[in-house]
Assembly symmetry: C2
Homo-oligomer: 218 residues x 2
């Protein structure tokens, strides 16, 4: 499958590398034409790895991944172009992190809105699935780093899109039963609002190599 | 120990019942003098169970538990009286849930503030510990309902108060290692912001008999 990744950060590059490894063709999309990070990534990730602009990556992909920060996601996807998103599954991995000058972290939007919902509203023909925003990117593509059962969470309005994303996550090593469907795209609120808790856990453990396991009585 | 519980809802009554069972003296505090729910609870919970006003319960308790809803917590504790809170450990179990007329749930405050912080600001002489707001009340007092390892999270500015709360939770059946310290009282933000995720999980499972287990690679 051809996958277009919007964003050249650690998350985009890690997901892109795994997708290439799994035999997919990947284009890493950047704001600019010759982003040095994207060029270097494409060179080292192999012949199935390419780089381009946001619009080129979105046009290239049969499936798209938003891997830019939540606060700039709508703009980046606007640059990608409505026509390049229409009908495509768009995995939104982002978190709405805002850093104050003093280093304090807050979320925007939060509570009664989310990046997942914003993207689905702004790009109604994209099939947005919120996924993978709840864990470190190394763990996204290698769940066995953490022993035992632990889970991923998805939310979106399109059941077929969620099924397709679940298949993709399964190919990353996640048991299908470990991908919990939390309902429509408004489920993005709860998923994005996990971030402050996740940051506190990271402080507690002193590393990011952890994930949520939901344990049930029945 | 004498425990004063602010609030007569399901959470307050369940915690109160467990505390009586463990040999503590408990007063369930209510807005009014002869709240029928509090009277009935005190009658059935045994001779160590009493009921009173918020102020009476706060004066009675060596340790206090805020078990009213987050949005009315500051007012209830205001009625309880500063002098009855000073120097005491105050466990804040609340969540800042606001229900719209259409049944939609949001949080207030959220993101850059929390009920835990509000209470610590409003009652600077109380030793506020955020705890137990992340799970169903039946599970709070009976962790064995859910098999395997799963966790509680605490936050607060006073290490001795957190140690005291950890001991109390241990007496409820929680291993001490299952009580994760997430730092100062601003950790309440992340803990309170778990609620939308928790509600989605409850919808997913169709029941509230679940808890978080954090699994780590190291």
């Amino acid at each position: 499958m051809r996958v277009g990744i919007i964003g050249t950060g650690m998350v985009g590059r890690t997901l892109g590398g795994k997708l290439v490894e799994l035999g997919h063709e990947v284009m890493l999309g950047s704001r600019t034409e010759q982003n040095p990070t994207a060029v270097a990534w494409a060179e080292q990730a192999g012949p199935s790895a390419q780089h381009g602009t946001f619009a080129e990556a979105a046009a290239f992909g049969e499936l798209l991944i938003n891997a830019v920060s939540g606060v700039v996601a709508a703009k980046a996807l606007g640059n990608a172009g409505d026509e390049n998103l229409a009908g495509k599954v768009l995995i939104d991995v982002s978190n709405p992190l805002v850093f104050s000058p003093l280093g304090e972290v807050s979320l925007e939007p939060v509570n009664v809105d989310s990046i997942g919902e914003q993207l689905q509203r702004d790009f109604p023909e994209a099939r947005v699935v919120k996924a993978l925003n709840t864990l470190n990117c190394e763990l996204m593509v290698d769940p066995s780093r953490v022993p035992g059962e632990h889970q991923l969470f998805i939310a979106g309005n399109d059941p077929a899109a969620k099924a397709e994303v679940t298949e993709l996550l399964h190919s990353f090593g996640w048991p299908k039963a470990a991908v919990l469907d939390l309902g429509d795209i408004t489920g993005s609120r709860g998923l994005e609002m996990l971030m402050p808790f996740w940051l506190r856990l990271m402080n507690h453990y002193g590393h990011a190599d952890f994930n949520y396991s939901i344990r049930t009585a029945r």
